[in-house]
């Protein structure tokens, strides 16, 4: 059994549990959040209840997922306005278990340098390995990290396309355990596709990773979109599960960053400034 979480920051956050559409009515599902066993269910009126023992937990339905909070929500869930755009396909792509801390998974999501080595032939390919300079800003007002002007070579712009392109990426980290990626849309130059990663910290060293894909795409089926995202998750899995230690070390001297890791460096500092404890190894004072 994992010890119960006593980190006030993690306890005050909204956490994702499951895709709303995946919840079968009248069958109670069990899962764990911050080391705590909880249950959720849907009644005949499609109301969703989340219980910690006998205690009813607050529920928010957003971006296709059920969210809850074990303590008192410190703030409303972050904004993802694209989700409401009428011409977007919103697909809950998968929920998979990964033996890693949530912050390690966020860092991997922010990282372009691994594309040629881990997502070979899909998101990158050797010898095109360079991570060019990009911008990282901390938006103090919205309390989120924004990485912009990110460019990386992608071997195939879209299914069927030949030749590589320089793909543009923008990353947001609006929540310690969630990140949103905006990426050039192959079918409409003026729009951006959205891929969001919502991590449910099962305990300090295990997550359920939930993905939302929100795209301008009239070609692919939902199945294609889901399978693509599952392939990407499947490729990241053995890397994440082989990271030592599993919790993210916040001591700047724990690991060696390079310029390509600018977003991760800001992320670690941001977590440190928030005083987040759960899923990280805090830096010595």
């Amino acid at each position: 059994m994992s010890p119960v979480c006593n980190d006030p920051v993690a306890l005050g956050l909204w956490h994702p549990l499951a895709a709303v559409e995946d919840i079968q009515p009248f069958t109670e599902q069990r899962t764990r959040l911050l080391g705590q066993a909880i249950r959720y269910s849907k009644n005949h009126e499609n109301d969703i209840t989340v219980l910690d023992g006998d205690r009813r937990l607050p529920v928010t339905l957003a971006y296709g997922y059920v969210w809850t909070c074990l303590g008192t929500p410190a703030a409303a869930l972050f904004d993802l306005p694209e989700y409401a755009e009428p011409d977007r396909r919103n697909v809950c792509a998968a929920t998979v278990g990964v033996r890693v801390s949530a912050p390690r998974a966020v860092e991997n999501f922010l990282d372009m340098g691994h594309f040629p080595f881990v997502h070979t032939g899909i998101l990158g390919v050797e010898p095109h390995t360079e991570v060019r300079e990009y911008r990282v800003d901390l938006d103090e007002q919205r309390d989120e990290i924004l990485a912009t002007e990110c460019i990386f070579y992608q071997p195939q712009a879209a299914a069927g396309a030949s030749g590589g392109i320089m793909a543009d990426y923008i990353y947001r980290v609006p929540h310690p355990y969630c990140s949103v990626l905006y990426k050039s849309c192959p079918t409409d130059e003026s729009r951006l596709d959205v891929i969001a990663l919502f991590l449910q910290p099962v305990d300090e060293e295990n997550v359920r990773a939930h993905a939302l894909v929100s795209v301008i795409d009239t070609q692919s089926s939902d199945l294609d979109i889901r399978l693509f995202q599952q392939t990407i998750f499947g490729q990241d899995k053995p890397i994440l599960e082989n990271q030592l230690p599993k919790r993210l070390p916040l001591d700047p001297r724990a690991e060696t960053p390079i310029r390509a890791d600018k977003a991760a460096i800001v992320y670690r500092r941001w977590l440190r400034a928030k005083g987040l404890q759960y899923g990280v190894i805090p830096a010595a004072a």
Binding site: P127, T129, I239, L244, R253, P257
Partner: protein
Amino acid sequence: MIDLEAARYLWHPIAASSDLVPRHVFHAQILGREMALWRADDDNVNAWENRCLHRGVRLSIGINDGTELLCQYHGWRYANRTAGCTYIPAHPADAPARTICNNTYPAVEHYGLIWSGDSPEGPLPLLSTVDTSFVTPLRAVTINAASQQILLPLIQGYTLQLSDTGDGSLRYGADTPDAFTIILRATDTSSDRAIPAPDIAFFLQPVDAARTTIRGILCGMDEHNTDPQALNDLLRFHNRLLCNIRDRLEKAMADEPAPTPWIPIIPTVSENQASMPAINEDGRSASLRVRVASIESLSPSVKSFRFEPLSDLPEAQLPASQPGAHIDVHLPNGLVRQYSLINGPGQTDHYAIAVKLSLPSTGGSQALHEHLREGDLLATSAPRNNFTLRRDAEHTHLVAGGIGLTPLLAMARALHHMGRPYTLHHFVSQESELFFQDELQTLSGSYHAHIGLNPSQTAVRLADILASPAEHQHLYLCGPAPMLQCARTTAADLNWQDHTVHFEYFANPEERDDSSSFDVDLARSGLTLNVPAGQSLLAVLREHGVTLPSSCEQGACGTCRVAVLQGTPDHQDVYLSDAEKARGDCLMSCVSRARSNKLTLDL
């Protein structure tokens, strides 16, 4: 409980020699600490912390390519022996700081086993009571139990099982020189036994709090004089005995609570490694001592020199280098000269350079050619790389003139090793000046020698070679100044983009003018200094305690580069490209001066 603290200072077996097959990474653990063990093609055994310094990914899932270990996550390459990082693909134009070096542990091979430990002290203790002129390792068996829980059951179970299978005349005496070693000696053996009964030594490898590997060796049995089938039967027999003991012990302990795993302390990286700044060294440092191991004539005018560390001790190891790097060689006559390393990937047990005797010599090549002897001791700097090879090109063109082949040879070796396409052109005035022919023919890139061309023929040939620049292609040039000048002009005329043309001069052929006087503001140190006529900026900085690394000190190598925040530099170097000079955002402190009255530097 075992004394964990004391155990840290002991040698422990962590693998069998035969476990480390070529191009494999063995996953080991000792006292809770995971290690990645790998044997390089030169047979050197590396025992490293099982995590990449960058993001902590296990190196035991990485790739042993024979000379380097590659991390699966971002393709970082770490060199055999030194564990120094030689390439970071995300930043192909940078030479990794040489402080990026994995945690390594000592590893020795003995008794057919690999021995290591956290911080083993002294030499490996040897067995004195058994005949170890021949040893045969048994198959290792791992038990889910602590080593102290195994010691007695192993002795009792083993001797009992052995006596059961014998003819009754066999008795074993057990001896435990320390908490991790058991020696079983047959006290009565008859020569006509069905199963041979050699003495056995068992080493208990404390893997983790609740896991122990038993590594046994049969002593004094000459494998080559033993029937292979009988030997195999013997190994199977002992394996069965060990597995029986394992199964019984685990069954008996099934209900015991699992102890807390041992959590090893993972060393933190050094302060400067945590943020990857420039190498912080002052001047022409001569931090390494090397021995001239061999001298070889490659052509009538070119000799190669192989420098080796003074001892095999880990602290005497030479820092890893990357293709394009050079070292400062401090010669016995007091001169300091720069020579490119020609080492291929993973050749980390020595530095190799090739030097052309140029007459009249200013003292460097002559000192090396005529006065240096095998066995001499020299001081050198650590490798510096201001001519880095990008390995993210779809095709790489290497163009060398004469002895300018040296850095490009190292590059060709690296590209060949990584399977990246390249073409190498070597211009020489006569055939006898070609060298490394045999090797160059066997490397995968295409190799072309151009012999005896005059300057105008050379220009035509270069125009031919450089005729079709393309995206994702890079050009590397090294050779005498007139040829380099010609190649650079030709490349520019043929629309090679400035950032794809890389070059290195032997020396600065230009006359330097140091007659001006100017002021510099040092933005970070808050100093304002005057550089008088006749003195270099570098010298003035040093006088005022501002430390800067330098190497050639004539504007050719790029080591003493400084960022310019304000003002217009008067460059005078041959290191920067025309576009870089036009940007005016950096200068070479050894030769550059100011066109404006004042420069503001990022120092």
